[in-house]
Amino acid sequence: MRDGMFVFDNVIHMYDQSPGNIVDADYAQRVNRRWNTIMNTPLPAQATPMNSTWASEAIPVDRAGRLLFEDSDTDMVVAQTVPFFSYWKKGVSPVELNHALAVAYPERVILCGGVDPVWGGGLDATLREMERQVHELGASTFKFYNWQYDRGWRCDDREIAYPMYEKAAELGMKHLEFHKGSPIGYESMEELLPYDIQGAARDFPDLTFVIHHFGEPYLEETFNIASRFENVWVSTSAFFMNYWALAPDRAMHGMGRALQLVGPDRLLYGSEAFAWFDVQSIVDTFAELQISDELQDRYGYPPITPEFRRKMFGENQARLLGIDIEQKISEIAAVGDAGSRTPASVSVP
């Protein structure tokens, strides 16, 4: 909890940077070296340095849990698989590693699975994998990454995408997550435009589609789409942390425009742990985030009120997943201190 607000992080990733997970190709090695640079970027003065050895290994479950639930005000997280297989064999954030965190902290971690129909062995195999991730691993939602290196698929593709949405709905899911903008490697950035979410949102009105990173650099497009489609939500993942210390006006423009067009009920706080700083620094930043008086004046952005902040920090994510916050607070309290957990039964890959 932070200042009485339930902190429900829309997106953390259990990264696996171990050498065995890197695809044996020159382009993959180059992307991995650049990724390591991100994880070891010099930090603002107030942040705690990351353990740089994480740049070459899978994140230990007990260390991740400690950073999240002991060393930060975070109450719950969605541990998001990233089904990005062109550079990492099991994906940059493998489902098994995120599952391990969910098993270790069942009262606090929601598992977001991840599949890809192009790199995952075809549609039939992908649909079977979706079933496996739900029935065997307990996934509550899925993350999608549309384009990988040199090939991909569209969110409004009736032959490839729609069967996956139908399967997700059949498996009881109410929402799906999408990496938009922010290409990680050498994929063409226009393939990660949010435009294709519109057709999907129109044809699946009972599903909620969450766009990540504000769709950067396609912010205006993302906000326009979310403004018109009530079943499109937006995660603040990465964006405000990328810019808050570097270029605060840029961060405020993003947040202000998101609030102005999308509103406070469909925005989700997301830390993208463990890409940069310690988690508490990110919580602190979001707790203190405010649109400057100057930008409120010149751009009409609304101020971030306590109500807005409370919604974005955790109430919206809880509502999206059908979680009763008061009940969850009691459940977490009953379990007691999070501690460092690596149950003997969990096999950490």
């Binding site: 018109r228 649109i291 009409g300 609304p302």
Partner: protein
């Protein structure tokens, strides 16, 4: 808070006459959510207006000025419109100048 039927009817009449035709020309519309006996009016944009980037400007320069002149109306608020107090004041000032010009022409 009780809904004032008589005041609501007056507000609806103004919306129907001066406001809704302009919105409907762009496939949009606006609906009354509540009208209290104290004169607090709450509106919501619907159809194409609901997600329109121009709805804030429409709200404060194209709708509120018409309703503020309705006897009994104390305040006009809009669901789904989030702007700064600075922007509200600025748009109110623009709307006020427009109303003054219209009054001089009559």
């Amino acid at each position: 808070m009780t809904d004032d039927g008589e005041l609501r009817a007056r507000v609806q009449a103004v919306l129907d006459g001066d406001v809704r035709p302009r919105l409907q020309a762009h496939l949009g519309d606006i609906a009354i959510q509540s009208v209290s006996s104290e004169g607090d009016v709450r509106l919501a944009f619907v159809q194409a207006c609901a997600g329109c980037p121009a709805r804030a400007s429409t709200a404060f320069m194209g709708v509120r000025p018409f309703l503020e002149d309705v006897p009994g109306v104390r305040s006009v608020e809009f669901e789904g419109v989030w702007v700064s107090p600075h922007a509200e004041r600025r748009m109110a000032a623009v709307a006020s100048r427009g109303r003054a010009r219209r009054a001089r022409r009559v």
